[in-house]
Symmetry: C2
Subunit: 324 residues, 2 copies
C-alpha cells in the first residue's frame, strides 16, 4: 500500500505517524508492505506551518528522512485564516508536541503543494493509494475539487473524523476535524471517493493509561522517552477534560491502524453529509435523501476490536521505542 | 411469541396491526407462533382515546374480537395534556384512519391499565413476551418505572422510533415517537431491557407505491378496500410532504415485521440516550459515557433487507385482503 498521511501534527498525530513508521517493515492486512510516500500538512491541532515543521522533525527523529513533506491548506474553505483554539493548545502544547523539544529538521518541505501531490499520487498509484487524513479535511477536499476524477482513482481515504452514532468532541454533535471545516468534510463525503470513516463512534472506545505510556520511556532510549513524554502531556490534558477516563483516547493512532488493517473495525455502508446550516452545523449524519441509494462508497466504523488494536499498537510502539 | 402491540393508531399502525393479524397463523423466524395477547393504546398520531377506539374497531373488522385492548397513558411524562399536531392530523386524518369509516366495536376496553397489563404479561410470559411499541413511549416507560424488574423479565421491546445514523422526522435530529416524550424514551433506553430499535435509519429506506396499495382493493373485498383506502390517504399526505418519494414509508409495518423476524435488519449494539436539554432536545444518540461499557442491551437497526420485507409484507397483506 502506498500511504499518504495528511496530519495536523499534534500529539496523537505524532503517535499515529510513529505507529506508521513502526509498521513499515510489517505486512498490512492484505499482505502488502507499507510504503509511506509522503506526509502532507494540514491545520487543526496546530497551524499548517507548525504541523509540517513537526512532520519533518518527527520523521527525521525516527530515522525516516527519506519521506517528503508537503504543505497543505492553512485555513478552512469558508474562512480567511486559522488560529489554534485554546482547547487545542491546552491539549497539544504551544508546539503541538506537548512542548517537548526535538531538533528541527535540516530538510525543507517540498515545492509541490499537498493537493498536487495527492492528485499526482492518485494518478500514479491508483487503487494502491491510501490517504490517511487526521486533521482538517481542507486539503483533501481541495484536491478532490481540483481533480474530481481522483475520487475514482484513489484506493481509499481513511478519515479520522465525524461522530455519527455518538456525540461530538467540540459539542454534542460536532467532532473536531469536521468542525474545523464542515464544508470540506461535506465535499469529501459527497465526492464518491471510497471513504473509511473512523470517528468518535470508535475512537472514544480506545483508552491508553499513564502506566502503558511509561513502558516506552522505560526502554531508556531517546525515542522511547520522547514518545512517553508527549503522551504524558496528552494524558495531563485528558485528566482535566475527561477525569473519569483515567487515560486518553487514541483517535489518530486508531485511524492509522485501521488504514493498515480495516478488519479492526466493523463498518456500515452509509452516504454521509455534514449539516452546514442551522443549529447542528458541523454534525455528520447519514444523508436522508440518499438512504435508498444503493452501494454507498462510504464505510462508517461503528464497532472496534479494541483489545486487538491496543495489543498491536503497544507492541509496535514498544518495538519502535527500543530502536534508539 | 406472546406479542403486545402498543399503538397510536394511526394509518401505519393499522397496517402494522393488520400485518400482525395476517401473521397469526404463520411461524416467526424462531419457529414459534404469533400470539397477539393484547393491544395497548398510546398517543401520538392520535389521542389515546381515539387510538383504542380504532384498535377495537380494527381488531373486530379483521375478525379478531378475542384480542383485548387496554388504554395507556394519554400524555407525555413532562406534560399536562396532549393534542394531536396539525402534521399528524394531516397525515392520519381526523379519526386516525384517513377519515375512512369502519364500524365502532361493540366491545369496551379492559379495566386493567396498559401498564399493569404489560407488567403482568412480563411476569407471566417472561422471555416469550415481545412488546412492539409504535407510538409515544410513555406507557412502556411508565410500566418500567412501576416495575423496574420487568426489564429483566421481558423478552424484547421493539421500538419504532429514533433516528441514530440519519435525520429525524420532526426536525433534523428528532424522530416523531421519541419527540412525543423524550423523557419516556430515555427511561426505556436506560432501563436495561432488551431493546430492538427500528428507527428512521431503516424505516426511511422502505417505500410503498399507490400501485401496490391498489392491489388490495382490487380483491373486491371490504377488508381489501379498507386497507387500500387508508393507505391511499397516507400516500396523499406523503405526496405533499415527500413529493420526490412517489410513495410512502412503512415505519410501523417494518417494526412489526422485525418484531416477528429480526433477521430482516442488521443491527449494532449501542447504549442509547436521548438529549433532554439543549438545542438538540429529542435527539437519540449513542451515550458517550457508555461507549466502553460492554454488552449493550440495545440493538439499533442500521440496515434492512427491504426487498424481503416488501415481498413478505405484500404477500401477507394481500392474503388478508382476500379474506372478506
Amino acid at each position: 500500500v502506498k500511504l499518504i498521511c495528511d496530519l495536523d501534527t499534534g500529539i496523537d498525530d505524532t503517535l499515529a505517524l510513529a505507529y506508521i513508521l513502526a509498521s513499515i517493515d510489517q505486512k498490512t492486512a492484505d499482505g502488502s508492505n507499507v510504503d509511506l510516500i509522503g506526509v502532507t500538512g494540514t491545520f487543526g491541532n496546530v497551524t499548517t506551518a507548525q504541523g509540517v515543521r513537526n512532520d519533518l522533525a518527527v520523521l527525521d527523529f525516527f530515522g525516516h528522512p527519506e519521506v517528503p513533506v508537503y504543505a497543505g491548506r492553512d485555513h478552512a474553505l469558508g474562512m480567511r485564516s486559522f488560529e489554534v483554539s485554546p482547547g487545542s493548545a491546552f491539549i497539544h502544547g504551544r508546539n503541538g508536541l506537548g512542548d517537548i523539544d526535538i531538533p528541527d529538521s535540516t530538510r525543507a518541505i517540498s515545492d509541490l503543494s499537498a493537493e498536487e501531490f495527492m492528485i499526482q499520487s492518485a494518478r500514479q498509484y491508483g487503487h494502491d493509494l491510501v490517504i490517511l487524513a487526521t486533521g482538517a479535511f481542507t486539503t483533501v477536499a481541495s484536491a478532490l475539487q481540483k481533480n474530481p476524477q481522483m475520487a475514482s482513482y484513489v484506493g481509499k481515504i481513511v478519515m479520522m473524523g465525524a461522530a455519527v452514532t455518538t456525540c461530538g468532541s467540540v459539542n454534542a454533535w460536532t467532532e473536531a476535524n469536521v468542525g474545523q471545516d464542515p464544508e470540506a468534510a461535506d465535499i469529501i463525503f459527497k465526492s464518491g471517493a471510497p471513504l473509511f470513516v473512523v470517528g468518535r463512534d470508535v475512537t472514544a472506545r480506545t483508552r491508553i493509561t499513564r502506566q502503558q505510556a511509561d513502558t516506552w520511556g522505560a526502554q531508556g532510549t531517546e525515542r522511547g522517552k520522547f514518545l512517553s513524554s508527549i503522551l504524558d502531556r496528552y494524558l495531563d490534558a485528558y485528566a482535566v477534560n475527561f477525569p473519569a477516563l483515567h487515560g486518553s483516547f487514541l483517535p489518530d493512532p486508531l485511524a492509522a491502524a485501521v488504514a493498515l488493517d480495516p478488519t479492526l473495525v466493523q463498518t456500515i455502508p452509509l452516504w454521509l453529509r455534514v449539516d452546514l446550516a442551522g443549529p447542528t452545523r458541523g454534525r455528520t449524519i447519514g444523508d436522508p435523501d440518499r438512504l435508498r441509494e444503493p452501494n454507498p462508497t462510504t464505510q462508517v466504523s461503528v464497532l472496534c476490536d479494541i483489545p486487538r488494536f491496543m495489543a498491536n499498537f503497544m507492541s509496535r510502539m514498544t518495538a519502535l521505542a527500543a530502536t534508539k
